[in-house]
Symmetry: C2
Subunit: 547 residues, 2 copies
Amino acid sequence: MTTDKDLNTTSYDKFKANFESALSKLDCNRVTDPFYIIKGLPEDLKQSSSPVYLAGGMPHESMFPFKHVSVKYRDAPGSLGNLESSTIKEGESYNSYDIPLYSEGSVKNQQSDIARAFQYSENVGLESLREFTRQIIKKVNTPIYDNWDVLITSGSSDSLSKVCDLFVDEDTTVLCEEFTFVNICSHVKYAQGSCVPVKLEVSDDPKSQGIDTTYLSDLLENWSSYYPDKKKKLVLYTIATGQNPTGVTQSLEKRKEIYDICCKHNVIILEDDPYGYLQLPKYNAKDPLKNPYQDNTITLDVFCSKLLKPSYMTIDTEGRVLRLETFSKVGSPGLRLGFIAANTYLIERLSNISFMTSRNASGISQSITNNLLFELGTRYQKEVDSKASMIDGWFNWCMKIAGEYTHRRNVLFKAIHETEAFKKNYFQLLEPSCGMFATIVVNMKPEWISSDDKTKRKDQIKRAMDYLLCCLLETGCLPILGYKMTICRDFSMDRANFLRITFAKAESAEIFEQGAKNMSAAFERLNEEYMTDKELWDLPATGLVGM
Amino acid sequence: MTTDKDLNTTSYDKFKANFESALSKLDCNRVTDPFYIIKGLPEDLKQSSSPVYLAGGMPHESMFPFKHVSVKYRDAPGSLGNLESSTIKEGESYNSYDIPLYSEGSVKNQQSDIARAFQYSENVGLESLREFTRQIIKKVNTPIYDNWDVLITSGSSDSLSKVCDLFVDEDTTVLCEEFTFVNICSHVKYAQGSCVPVKLEVSDDPKSQGIDTTYLSDLLENWSSYYPDKKKKLVLYTIATGQNPTGVTQSLEKRKEIYDICCKHNVIILEDDPYGYLQLPKYNAKDPLKNPYQDNTITLDVFCSKLLKPSYMTIDTEGRVLRLETFSKVGSPGLRLGFIAANTYLIERLSNISFMTSRNASGISQSITNNLLFELGTRYQKEVDSKASMIDGWFNWCMKIAGEYTHRRNVLFKAIHETEAFKKNYFQLLEPSCGMFATIVVNMKPEWISSDDKTKRKDQIKRAMDYLLCCLLETGCLPILGYKMTICRDFSMDRANFLRITFAKAESAEIFEQGAKNMSAAFERLNEEYMTDKELWDLPATGLVGM
């Protein structure tokens, strides 16, 4: 049992004692002993207080070609079908902020400047940006324990790569939602570990959505019968909020249950949360374009305290959770900027990996982001609430982005609901609670999946999905096949009769409408042609080769 | 023998056949099979020419907060002691360039824009920046063979990390100059390989400078007697131009000799060249501030064709050279931006590593650099030479940076020449041909290094150097100790009686003058106190503990 007192005294040393054995065997090989560090000086040495620095090969900032950066930014994301003009017109005014050569005066600690950010800098990230990200964590996901920190990374792919480097070796198994962002497997496989699937409940019911806890518990209680050849050195990789590809979100109750199971079996939890800020209010088929964000019925306070889902960090009594966030979805993917929050021992180990690989995330990316957060915070305080926290401006922007995704979701859903194929019940449209993806579950005719043999049934599902894909490509709609996002196809093929579609990228409502129509046409063809004499193409019994 | 005809037909397949066995055993574990790739489609499928894209989770660019970036840049680096004011004054005009939301018209392929660069993008880097870096390679280091390419990385540390990931496993040994940028060892050790030192000739003679080829040849001919336990799977890591820390540069003749040795023994060559553009004309003690760059006696053509030293790529008939460049020294370190040039097979393997780690270098860093190169190129064509190549503007900037480093070198050297300790011959100042570092060789009194025992002599050298370090810290001067930059201290301690100093970072000439004085004071103390009854501090016989 962890008591409150334990929590307050949870220290670096305790984290080290508890989690050192969870690290990859190779991690201790990452010995960094920078040549410029001076050690062992005599105690009575009287060091000069201002020595002339002739050591490191750092160019003076006057040698940088860059003198000043100015950024024009949006007050709100462009609205679908009503996008802003592509260029800044002479005389048009936009709000802007700067990255000066030197920050001065009272803003020095919050506003990043060229002299610092464009120089060699800290492996853990620029201190001002770290402080902003700490505030992001604190505002909506305050950890229970004190001794946590953040590390700025070069985006979530970099975070995943570093975290896998830290934990995974040939003894490690990473438990994954059976459908997931499968790139995780490449990282794990390269580190010589393996991934195993955990059953996922994909439904419209908020309580049951997400990892099947009965399955998880049984799996861990009976690990050696499930996987007799695998050691029980485990990491759970979970996208708990707005799961990719299914869009489901774990309830807080479910998170607590999963957390307890992980504690019992000493499982490290990697909580990847790229989509969490894109909260989507319930779709209303009777008033399809209704958007509570635009009606102003969702205030910033409601957004932060009611809509955003609490991270595993808020229930983490032991420091076994690593939370991965990214600026790709609410900022820009090209920033290649994200962060990891975790206990200080793990952050230190991750920082050591940074030192040996990318050193630090781009200083330009860090400063352009840092100063945006600073600008938005300052402006929010000035224009909306003088007592607001500096980070509120950023959450206000995140809320606007969520509002625009809600609008995009509405437009696409409305278009899909109006299609013939939807009306004919050729598929179900599952509503995501969050994120940028929705799930189209293909209703299979019984005669398509008729075999009594399990393996053959799976082939039949795959072949039908592949036939649908071919139709989609001809009618003009490009989704992702659910079965391409399985950790173990054999384990999940029974449930892989779905498509992932996104409402992220289109420029106009017309495109979504066209996409829905083209999708509908493909479903009509599937239902008319498949397994009849109208069937086109000579698809093998197992569907497309190589897929 | 490779004939001209072979060179012209050197293909990806041939590179693969020749170099696949040089890769790390783990590289083939890096299997990436993105879930969005569609394979095996029937030949008679009639794909829609404009399908609606509902696949990837890419935010539309109108969701990015950034609308327009404008950068004020310098025409020339700030001059030591005459730095520009720290802030842009109202009304002051600077040249500037933009990163627009959308590039349009004729500049579309050369000017990077927010819509592309701030989005998810190519693992190999933005095509426009890749093309600029290809031009950088072609202009001064045209490879002999055709089938080479470039990969944009997140800076040289990232390049080193990726290249070590690619080649090094427990069977690999990386041959290094005995004094070098020792961070390479961390990468190699982590990949479970080892580093061994190669003797370096550090002298003022341009012909003999650099790797001792007699030693190298003997080492490789008699590998199994030198290192009976190590397989002969070898990589050479060399900083051929303006070596770190010694500042020496290999002559072209020496490079050819080394290249032939590497071919004979199937050694991969990693040519790291962070300092190559910082060419320093000969220092003239009689006219110490003479700077041929400022006299305009060095034209761009002279700079490019005479001063810049030819890369190993220019003599690489087999495709075994990987050239590492960085934008840190002539751009800004905080860009975290560099590139690797190599044969197309190796570039493809490196790109695969990118996909699995950082994905791509920051799009903001890439676009701010790309558009600077575009701006400088366009302006150079307009103002100087309408027939110039687009990349000449960048080389012109590099030349100005080299000019400023020459000035900084002059100021520091003048100051050092004027010190008492220099006049008393307490040390020698070795002149670098290139880069930002100089070498101070400590003249040791015979009585300091008096032991007949080899090991004890090495301890005596270390102790004297540590005593000097203590004096330096008290008098106020912070250099790097040569022995901290050894691959194998035991191998090199005899030759490690030197300091590395830099003329990169100071703000003013006064600081260099103060640094020289403080250094001189430390040398005076060393010579007065060391091994006399005036000796301070109770240094152990092996010098500072832990150093």
